[in-house]
Amino acid sequence: MHPIFEKGGKLGWLHSTADAFDTFLAVPGTVTGKGSHVRDAVDLKRIIILALIAVIPAALFGMWNVGYQHGLATGDPRINLLGNWWFGFLHVLPIYVVSYAVGLSIEFGTAQIREEEVNEGFLMTGFLIPLIVPVTTPLWMVGLATAFSVIFCKEIFGGTGMNIWNPALVARAFLFFSYPNQMSGSQCWIALGKGETMPDACTGATPLALDGPAQYGTGFWDLFLGTVPGSVGETSVIAILIGAFLLIWTGVGSWKIMAGSVAGALLVGFLGNIGGITAIPAWMQLLYGGFAFGTVFMATDPVTSCQTECGKWMYGLLIGMLCITVRLFNPGYAEGMMLAILFANTMAPLIDHCVVSVHISRRNKKLKTA
């Protein structure tokens, strides 16, 4: 790094920023000090970039779907691969720009104030936020929500690794409770060009809000492929499965949490189905709404999920069960995934505490008898 950015240099106040770009370009020549003289080649940059790559299929499909839904809504149901994608890309790109610009500037600023290295965590958060909001969300709202979540969900706790809740979901929750009109209903999911209006016969509501087969796109394949309205990245189960495979393969995301969540959802979905509360079969619940996206990319966040292996199962189960319970019993609020995960985030330390306490008392008993 140029000496001008060192402490005491002319631009010393930009030290953390310069360091962030510097270490982005090259792994620094820092050597080990105390303790182990050699270290594993992996670092958090690598782990986070892998998680980010896992989300890319869902993001790319989401962009295409924005264009496709626009076509459907304006009476042009042709599938135009590149054209649809480009339309969606142009609509999603500004959300990305705002999310990263706001989040990263706060992140760089706080690192500078604390005189720490800039943390990579926001690369992932900033990539997720645009994928879990409706494409029509006003950009200033995205900016506000991002700022709120980075400051109040992350930085006041001490930065990435210290936060209790998933920052991307907190941004989503902030939007949901502050601006409910823009976040739900049947208008927000479809991007329209200037002067375009939706025909009266067409509703842009997500399949969840309609609860059951509606006029279009709620069959198994529509949901599985993701050709339905919804938040940008959440619709395509197949794209999310590709990401899930990558996360499990690389060990970045915990398969136990994913499996627990699916099992919990199936259980409650099944009970609801045979109890006559809903006509939707349990397995279809897995395809609706943000369940798949939340299970794969949000619930598995290693910072806010459970630490213990046994705890991960319980944590996953809690998310899956709670999500479907909300769907079945709360007609005013169709999607329970966001709050289910935030609730489970809150409960994760408690679950860990119980698991560890049980382990310790069992171990003490064993030691006493030994």
């Binding site: 182990s36 003289h37 594993d40 992996v42 670092d43 943390n119 690794g161 060990g251 292996e309």
Partner: protein
């Protein structure tokens, strides 16, 4: 003999530079350092002054609080210098070796515990006994639950104890017999070990990757340490020295040292005494030590002593490795990074388990808060513990939690692999050592 205890967790570090099983030379150094700094729990008081003549086995240092614990000279000669550091802290006593070596005569009795203790104390061999918990010098007035010895090292490029001590089985047996007077001796052996024939109160067979050879890991499977327990441990070299002392009445700390490491030229074994200055090993790093790190001990928990330092009192290995000060452009984003080793599936080294890597000391990243969860670290620790919970309890200085999470069972070396894999690049061993220091302070 009990059944084999198979440990699955852990990792044998695939690094180049294992020592060839030949003794390259026998080092007789002109000077030798008696260095108390690497002995935890020993606060030295000088017993000699510059110019004093010492014999092999003569006391040089004594412990301030327990003056019966002595550190003795491993050679005969004259005291050349007393090396002090900041605040006049005693760092080492340099002894110039005499041409003709003379040893102090001892007449140790090994008939009862008291005479064994006295023998060990007066010969300075007491320093070979390490007390767990905390990894400090054993307390001469205490009696441990058991005395434990792991006869094999699994650390990176560890010395092959069968090669080093295969022909000292008689001395080792004598050592075990003497120590059995104090407390039951249990030993841990690997499969098909030459040491399996030793007679002791318990012989336990272990199989698995590092840290299966760590005494702490073995004890936690054989006889877990709970509050109030103490267990003493010692190295096989220490045991052989104790055995030779009781057989011949002389102090003989000479041992085979594995000189290893990816930057070592012709890694092999040498015979040397503890305290041998590193310049004696110069032939293993060639013309210049510039850009090299010379470690007394192994890559995971040895001490960086530099090219002018000396071999640690209990060490049987020297490791030479390149300092990784070069920057690696786009290192973290390169898809393959073929020359680097990682246990994480973010890279592909798990596909080629046969490869050995030319590692260096680069940290491979910046320090961050803990991001990965406990399971990421637990896969490197074959003990019934939650390593990250223990580390965080140490960071918080919460004694009650540290006790619950098993601070009595571990030493920093047991979590060395957890430190190796940590993507947040935290110094786990230092954190644990800090926790142990706090326990020592508060529980004393």
């Amino acid at each position: 003999m009990s059944d084999t205890i198979v440990l699955k967790k852990g990792l044998n570090l695939p690094v180049t530079g294992a020592a060839e099983p030949v003794v390259r030379k026998s080092i007789v150094s002109r000077t030798l350092a008696v260095e108390p700094t690497c002995l935890k729990g020993f606060s030295p008081r000088l017993l000699v002054k510059e110019g004093d003549a010492v014999l092999c086995g003569s006391p040089v240092l004594a412990d301030k609080t327990r003056p019966e614990i002595l550190m003795t000279s491993p050679v005969s000669g004259t005291v050349k210098a007393i090396v002090r550091g900041d605040k006049r802290k005693l760092l080492a006593v340099l002894i110039e070796t005499a041409e003709r070596q003379e040893a102090a005569e001892f007449h140790p009795g090994s008939t009862d515990a008291a005479s064994v203790r006295n023998g060990l104390l007066e010969s300075g061999l007491w320093l070979q006994l390490v007390q767990r918990p905390y990894g400090v010098i054993a307390d001469p007035s205490a009696t441990p639950k058991i005395i434990y010895l792991s006869t094999f090292g699994t650390g990176p490029l560890a010395a092959d104890s069968a090669f080093c001590l295969g022909n000292e089985l008689g001395a080792m047996q004598a050592g075990i017999d003497a120590l059995e007077k104090i407390a039951p001796v249990h030993i841990g052996v690997c499969e098909a070990s030459v040491f399996a024939g030793l007679r002791a109160s318990g012989i336990h067979v272990f199989k698995g990757p590092h840290p299966a050879g760590n005494a702490g890991v073995q004890i936690s499977h054989v006889c877990p340490i709970v509050k109030g327990d103490t267990v003493w441990t010692l190295s096989p070299e220490g045991l052989a020295a104790i055995g030779k002392f009781f057989l011949r009445g002389k102090l003989d700390l000479r041992r085979r040292i594995a000189v290893t490491g990816p930057a070592a030229i012709g890694p092999a074994y040498v015979e040397a005494l503890p305290g041998t200055p590193m310049p004696e090993f110069r032939s293993f790093w060639g013309a210049s030590s510039q850009g090299l790190r010379i470690i007394s001990g192994d890559l995971l928990c040895g001490r960086n002593v530099g090219a002018e330092g000396c071999l640690g009192w209990r060490d049987n290995q020297v490791t030479i490795i390149r300092e990784g000060t070069e920057r690696e452009y786009f290192g973290w984003i390169r898809p393959l990074r073929w020359k680097q080793f990682s246990t994480d599936r973010a890279y592909f080294s798990w596909l080629t388990p046969w490869r050995r890597y030319d590692m260096d000391t680069n940290l491979h990243g910046g320090k961050r808060a803990f991001l990965m969860n406990d399971a990421y670290y637990a896969k490197m620790l074959p003990m019934d513990l939650y390593p990250l919970f223990l580390v965080k309890a140490c960071l918080a200085g919460d004694i009650e939690k540290m006790e619950k999470f098993g601070i009595y069972e571990v030493l920093p070396e047991d979590l060395a692999l957890c430190e190796f894999v940590d993507p947040s690049k935290n110094d786990l061993q230092e954190i644990i050592a800090g926790g142990i220091d706090l326990m020592l302070k508060e529980m004393a």
